[in-house]
Amino acid sequence: NAGVIQTPRHKVTGKGQEATLWCEPISGHSAVFWYRQTIVQGLEFLTYFRNQAPIDDSGMPKERFSAQMPNQSHSTLKIQSTQPQDSAVYLCASSLGLGGEQYFGPGTRLTVL
C-alpha cells in the first residue's frame, strides 16, 4: 500500500499562471478530500468527493479554484491565475468511506512568486 500519492511535491509558479495538482487516493478508498495548510490559517478544508461525485466544495475560493475526480484513481485541483496568497501546502486525503479515518498524502508545496 503506497498511501496517498501527490504530485508534484513542489511547484513554483509566477503570478497569473495556472497550477494543477494531482492526487492518487489509496486503492479502494471511495472518499477523497482536499485541504490546504498555511502558517497563518492552519489546516483548512477545500472540497471532497465520494465515489467520484462532488459532495461539498464550501471551502473552495469560487473564482479561480476547481477540483475534479474523473476516475476512482485520481483527483485534480486546478488553480487559475495564481496569486501570492495561494501559496500553501495543498493536502489530499482519502478514506474508505464517509466517516472513516482519513489518510493524508505528503502534500504539494505551491509557491506563487
Binding site: 492552519g42 478544508f45 461539498d56 486525503a93 464517509l98 466517516g99
Partner: protein
C-alpha cells in the same frame, strides 16, 4: 469563532514525562481524529475515535462528544515524540459534512 480549540499551544517535557493534550470543540461531533506532524512533514494519523477511550502503544485518546471535548495522553515521552499534534473534528460521518475541521495544534518539545 474557532470551532476546534487545542491546549496548551506548546508544551516542553523532560524525557519520560507524560503529556496530556486537550481538544475542545464548539459544535456536535461524530468523531475526533488525532494527527502528528513534524516541521515540513506529512500528517500522520495517530488515532480516530468516535467516543470513549482508544489506545495504541503509548497513546491514549479519549473522546466525550456530549461534553464537546477530547484528549490525547502520551505516556513516557521520548525525544522523537517532539512535533505538532493536531486534533480534527468530524461533524457528520455519513452525510454531507464528513470534512475535518482542525485545531491549531499543540507543539510538543521533549528534552533529554
Amino acid at each position: 469563532g474557532q470551532q476546534v480549540q487545542q491546549s496548551p499551544a506548546s508544551l516542553v517535557l523532560q524525557e519520560g514525562e507524560n503529556a496530556e493534550l486537550q481538544c475542545n470543540f464548539s459544535s456536535t461531533a461524530t468523531r475526533l481524529q488525532w494527527f502528528y506532524q513534524r516541521p515540513g512533514g506529512s500528517l500522520v494519523s495517530l488515532l480516530s475515535n468516535p467516543s470513549g477511550t482508544k489506545h495504541t502503544g503509548r497513546l491514549t485518546s479519549t473522546t466525550v462528544t456530549k461534553e464537546r471535548r477530547g484528549s490525547l495522553h502520551i505516556s513516557s515521552s521520548q525525544i522523537t515524540d517532539s512535533g505538532t499534534y493536531l486534533c480534527a473534528m468530524e461533524r457528520d460521518s455519513g452525510g454531507s459534512n464528513a470534512k475535518l475541521t482542525f485545531g491549531k495544534g499543540t507543539k510538543l518539545s521533549v528534552k533529554s
